[in-house]
Subunit: 885 residues, 2 copies
């Protein structure tokens, strides 16, 4: 017969630590500690399998379960020398849930089970503490009625309040034994009124009702939601732990506490925790008394302290990780109620992992696996100080589009942002959405908040690129002129607001921020990651897995280089055109009505664009730089507001009507699918020609100065081999011509983005004309799903709620759809060109889950915004390790 | 050694009819006729291989060619008893090109080669006809100088004109022998002036120059363009035919003519053609004398007539197809210069094929293969009468978006179209583009012309659906208010214009049209096609290949049923909402600010929509009907013009501001990738619920009346299995509920469109929730290419010019990209559900080339607009036959 119940106690347990799936985390660790000889109150665990079978079998327990529980309970009673419900010396037990994955607060607990009208008297007698006995009983009635039978806690709270009023006391603790005895009576009356029967006196009935409640709580709506929200799958159910009770509130030689084997906030290797004597866990949580630091215990009870530190040392060595423990002291005897790997801040995660390697406790590989990419990210951005954060509640939240916290006076236009900062103000830019015209205002803002748009909206992409905190799609912020309201509360221009781009939360007022400090051990930790990446070996792919960055300006390139970028994976040339002096020439070029006139304007741009490229190549000092030729449709460069149009017409010396006709002729119904990318290169070859010439001239100049360059020219939006073949030929001609003129031998690669489904499907044909592929997963996601990233906001929330999309596909790659196209592109491309260099330059290049997918798919590198480079270095190393196993 | 030159003459030839690839069509047929004993002037053919090698080998002839030609020429001279350049009795030859595929007028010809100053005298003597000799010589000089040396013809024409002025004659024929002798002198002077040397007298030099010119003409720009335009590939080059000359202008017993073995216009089995006595081919073309009908020859020269009819009978039996022949009678002796399968009208193609089956000449399969789908199409639409067409030139042309000719007075708005037709006018609607609001005006128009938009623009799709002739994207038509200009010429409202939607041509004025008449033999011919389709067997696909139609209204369904549709593959429910009484309720629903209010409006729509479905199911009388639930984004149903907004706000009893806010909130940057299709079904489930209920109620009513129904509910724009799983469940619930209420047992299939790349890629997952797939290749093409069909006009012309796209991918399926996704979808879907029913309902369903692809890919049916059904029946049968081989 299958085994459902696992006993632990008296130094031996039927379970152990690696049986988490079956016993849950709590049960497995209780068993492990028992086996280690650590003092754990004995008990038993009912396996998660029972929960699974319970739900699969119409809420029936498997056959034999009741008998097995009864038998194991007998064993427990024998060991404890007490029986459940014994009117003289009753055994009391706790009933706790515990699944393989921690789901804090999601499921139910019942304490003090086994008490009834007779047993409470026995407990009072044997402990010589009637107040304790009746307090335990009334707590049990309340907890049991609530958890097992669904009664509202309010019913009992009201009775308690009445009693305190009657007795004229403020605190529960001021009620004496008689008061509590009276309270139990009143509780039982309330129970009968609600349930139509007396409070159950049979401890076995109590036990099964509590077990049933725990299994039932596995599928309560909040638990289901929690699992969804945290993407917890493949966990079959919860286990139930039945454990003999110990009490920290027995008197002055009793107590209870929580401790960590290292500081969970900083990661320092110091014993950390707090405790309260003569108290139960609830009292610590309630906050009525101030707990003492764990270090005080060494003075107050050196024996127990020594015993506790010994145990924490043993457990940390045993689990090879920082432990989070709960303990109770009952009449001078120490019990450990729980141990688990402790939750920690990003800083602590890196510090612990680093120290443990230095201490010889874990290997570098384990250290790398143990730090979450998002934890590492915390280290690189300002954060709201813990103190400030504790004191406030967020007023609303949006998408966490670019991490870090920012605070500033709100302004509502890019112009205002510029004007205010010029006079020394610190501003936060709030807009419905942003557009390329807003760039200058975005640059000077501390943070950006948009009320619409998604994770790859203009604001989000630009903010991440600049490392500016940003919240996007914050629907609760309703903008009207130079004011906004949140839930009816109105804010005006100049009001202080703080945003946390890491969490997406918005706060009223100016909160204290903490600046990031990158210490040497973080850099050393990251260098371990690099070693793992650089030595990664995959079949058919060149050695190593690299991190590049998306940077459009020399300054961005320099930041990324500092963060460890190994090249530029995407330099968007059009961003250069938005600088005022260039924008004018570019607009002149668009409006030009002949090829000759266009070429005239392009000549002026050539000089300026060459300087941009010169700066970027110089900053990257010999590392590869992938430059994407013009991508967006031309209308993005022309104004849409009446006054801007009038202004531009004046500057271009044409009539307003002429300019308006031009703008109208460039209008598109679906610009994302319109006249952009290489389609511009085909229809206006002179634009691409100018850009290629600027790149090659910059390279030639640098080579002459002795600076190495690795230029890679990238053609965007290719859908057919014919487009690439024509544009490659054009580019090659110019490369040859210019380098011949300059008398420099250059190796300029010409490759393409794979960002249109058709390009992925026909990658074998396209590969013949490409030196490299770079997967543009933003556009690829848009077209593969048929989702416009600018319009997805109207249905994305419903899609998340109804679990149609488990991830935002623009934030984390859709493996089975978009990912399959990437894999197809890689496979087809390498079939024609074995070992071909391939990378990704979409926003997914900075997402750990996506990085893992790209590694497994055989990409040579990922490219992400400068501030994501450290995270990508870590995530890449973790991907390598995960696949090495 | 390889053989390059193939002799024919004296009843025996080295080539034959099936050597077209090597000898070209002309050469192969000359050889075949020689072998058949038909009187063909002897000669030889230089193989196409030489042309191929010539271009591959830097324009050098292969070794041994010159010797082989010289040897074969000797054989010819011996047979003819004359030598090239003989001053007494010279052999004259013609040099003609001829590739495997006919390229009329694309390449060069030289006649009378072999003449020089001495030979012309010999010719004059032996023929006793100096005028003929010198006329031949001056023609040769002109032709040779032009073809072989690139001299302009104008030079010679001017000299000829001067001569005629001097002689005061109007016609070349009025110049006598001396005049022509003088002309030859002047021509030679002009030659020397241009070429710096005397006109070449060596016949061998002449011969090689002419051969070189023919090979050279293979790659002249017009020939290259012709091959591109007609998608002629895999043809390596042209052959060169050197043939002894015969002359129809030798006197009254000589003549020349062209004849067809059947009437190429009607297909009737009557001998058809024309001839001229004492004339050369050029004279027939020049049109100075009126040729006589071939029947006249039976009176004038019964012997020759008998010989000619015998030959035509033999050739038709031999080639088993209608023949187009050229003949020359030289001094009472008949020569056949060419035979080939005759070009014919659509009507003639069907008639010939039908008759030849009845005559036992060909099988039904061959008959089916012999009729072009586009030829068949001619039979179903009005056409400009041949007489009218001959008399005019098109003033411009656009995309041939919907076939057939139409003539009417031009109007510039849908409202005007309605108003004018109400007072009895016949109108042609001219617009920049059309939108759903224009439907009523489009329905009443004879034809539609748009100046923008492509083959799947709104105007094109709607016009094809209604069978209304339409030209789209006609850029030359520049609209301004109620006028338009073409090449500077202005037209005003009310002017007559005629369009030919089959060719895309636009004509000034009211041209005479011919109405289509479908005769019984056409229907019988189509029934042969059906037999082939119905018995088609493919592995893993249910037997047969079917034709459905896209129809949204009972009337369309009835038309399609008449044309042979075997079901409806796409019924777009939203088109129903544009009817005025429904549009109001639908707009009310969109603007509603609560679920309850929305449901109220939907209740009113339910009744009306049920009637629509009732009508359609009844019209299809038991055939399957696929109904697509709401697809377009909601903003398409709201007005954009100020006055319409004011009007609607009034009708809905809301403020203009409220309505404007609503419209603004529905605005999308890329509506094609926006909130539409099943995304509406997810966010507004009540809309789909209403539609499903309307369908099921209609079905229940009909079943109760004894009318069978086969409803198929289709969910559009599905990208994930989750969407379909949710919407399928919703639909199934309603189907169950309503049919239970109605006490009717219904089999309602619920399937999905595969029109998003992700759906094709994950078709295995999606198939689990679908009873059928229908590939929506319009959207699939848009997203796979990243082409917005509304915006493609700005770069499509350049893409066609530069040969990036060989076909408009919206008109004919892109096999290697979009097609590969279709194949993937079919394969993945059938892996999960073997034999699953799958069809296509995009515009490609009516394109013969695409139909063939869909058949090969394993689709069960194609669905096209009603007027394309006959063409699809033929194309489908041809696909089956092509794959049976």
């Amino acid at each position: 017969m299958e085994k459902y119940v696992y006993f632990f106690g008296n130094g031996a347990a039927e379970g152990k630590a690696d049986m988490k799936e079956m016993l849950g985390g709590k049960g497995a660790n209780l068993a492990e500690m028992t086996n280690l000889g650590i003092p754990v109150p004995p008990g038993f665990t009912i396996s998660t399998k029972v929960c699974d079978m319970f739900y699969k079998n119409d809420k029936q327990y498997p056959e034999g379960l009741r008998e097995e529980v009864a038998e194991t309970l007998k064993k427990l009673e024998k060991l404890m020398g007490k029986n459940l419900g014994d009117p003289k010396d009753p055994l009391l037990v706790s009933i706790r849930s515990g699944a393989a994955v921690s789901m804090p607060g999601m499921m139910d607990t019942v304490l003090n089970l086994g008490l009834n009208d007779a047993a409470v008297e026995g407990l009072a007698g044997i402990t010589n503490n009637p107040r304790f006995a009746y307090d335990s009983y009334r707590r049990f009635i309340q907890m049991f009625s609530n958890v097992a039978l669904g009664m509202k806690i309010d019913v009992f709270e009201e009775i308690l309040e009445e009693m305190k009023n009657k007795k004229n006391v403020e605190n529960d603790l001021d009620l004496d034994a008689n008061d509590l005895k009276e309270l139990v009576k009143l509780y039982k009356v309330a129970f009968k009124k609600s349930q139509g029967r007396d409070f159950p006196q049979d401890p076995t009935e109590q036990l099964w009702a509590a077990i049933g409640a725990v299994f039932g709580s596995w599928n309560n709506p909040t638990a289901i939601y929690y699992r969804k929200a945290n993407d917890i799958r493949n966990v079959v159910g919860t286990a139930v732990n039945v454990q003999s009770m110990v009490f920290g509130n027995f008197g002055d030689t009793s107590g209870t506490g929580v401790c960590f084997s290292r500081d969970p906030s900083t990661g320092e290797n110091v014993f950390y925790g707090e405790y309260l004597m003569n108290a139960q866990g609830e009292d610590v949580v309630a906050g009525l008394r101030t707990p003492m630091a764990i270090s005080a215990l060494s003075d107050n009870n050196p024996v127990i302290y020594k015993e506790l530190t010994d145990i924490k040392d043993r457990l940390e060595k045993h689990y090879k990780d920082m432990q989070d423990m709960e303990f109770t002291i009952q009449e001078g005897k120490l019990f450990i109620l729980q141990t688990r790997n402790g939750k920690r801040t990003g800083a602590a995660a890196v510090k612990c992992a680093y120290d443990m390697v230095k201490e010889g406790l874990i290997t570098k590989d384990v250290a790398i696996e143990r730090v979450g990419a998002e934890q590492l990210d915390q280290l690189f951005h300002p954060m709201i100080s813990a103190k400030a954060r504790k004191a406030v509640k967020a007023m609303c939240s949006g998408l966490n589009a670019s991490p870090g916290a920012a605070t500033g006076k709100v302004v509502f236009s890019a112009e205002d942002a510029e004007a205010w900062t010029e006079r020394g103000e610190q501003v936060l830019l709030i807009r419905k959405e942003t557009s390329p015209e807003d760039i200058a205002g975005m640059v000077v803002s501390e943070g950006i908040l948009t009320s619409t748009g998604g994770m790859t909206s203009h604001a989000a992409v630009v903010a991440r690129g600049m490392g500016t905190p940003c919240i996007a799609g914050c629907k609760s912020v309703v903008i009207s002129g130079k004011t906004f309201t949140v839930n009816g509360k109105k804010f005006v221009e100049g009001d202080w607001v703080t945003i946390d781009g890491t969490t997406g939360e918005v706060f009223e007022g100016k909160l204290e921020l903490e600046k990031p400090v990158i210490t040497a051990h973080v850099n050393e930790f990251l260098s371990w990651c690099d070693d793992v990446r650089w030595t990664a070996e995959r079949e058919g792919v060149e050695k190593g897995f690299y991190i590049r960055t998306n940077a459009d300006q020399p300054e961005d390139a320099a930041v990324a280089f500092e963060f460890g970028a190994e090249g530029i994976g995407l330099c968007r040339t059009e961003h250069m055109f938005f600088a005022p002096e260039k924008l004018g020439f570019f607009q002149e070029m668009i409006v030009a009505d002949s090829l000759e006139a266009r070429k005239e304007s392009l000549k002026k741009l050539l000089v300026l664009q060459k300087d941009d490229f010169y700066g970027i190549f110089k900053a990257m000092n010999g590392l590869p730089v992938t430059i994407r030729l013009l991508d967006p449709p031309l209308h993005e460069f022309l104004p849409s507001k009446e006054e801007d149009i009038v202004d531009l017409a004046g500057r271009l010396n044409i009539t307003v009507d002429t300019l308006k006709t031009k703008i109208a002729s460039l209008h598109e119904h679906n610009p994302m699918l319109g006249h952009r990318g290489c389609r511009l290169g085909i229809t206006y070859p002179e634009i691409y020609d100018m850009q290629v010439e600027a790149i090659v001239r910059a390279c030639c100049d640098l080579e002459k100065e002795g600076v190495k360059v690795q230029p890679e020219i990238m053609i965007p939006l290719v859908g057919t081999k014919e487009e690439l073949s024509i544009l490659r030929k054009n580019a090659k001609n110019i490369i040859e011509e210019v380098s011949r003129q300059s008398n420099v031998i250059l190796d300029v690669k010409v490759g393409t983005m794979i960002e249109i489904p058709r390009a992925a499907i026909t990658a074998d044909e396209i590969a013949a004309y490409a030196d490299f592929f770079s997967f543009g997963t933003n556009d690829l996601t848009q077209m593969t799903y048929g989702f416009s990233r600018d319009d997805i906001g109207s249905f994305l929330p419903a899609y998340r709620d109804q679990n149609i999309l488990h991830h935002d596909p623009f934030a984390s790659i859709d493996k089975s759809g978009v990912g399959r196209l990437v894999a197809t592109g890689v496979e087809l491309g390498r079939k024609v060109k074995p070992g071909m260099k391939m990378g990704v330059c979409g926003e997914h290049g900075g997402d750990p889950r996506s990085i893992k997918f790209f590694y497994e798919t055989g990409l040579s590198y990922v490219s992400c915004s400068p501030y994501r480079v450290p995270i990508a270095r870590l995530a890449a190393a973790q991907s390598v390790l995960a696949n090495r196993k």
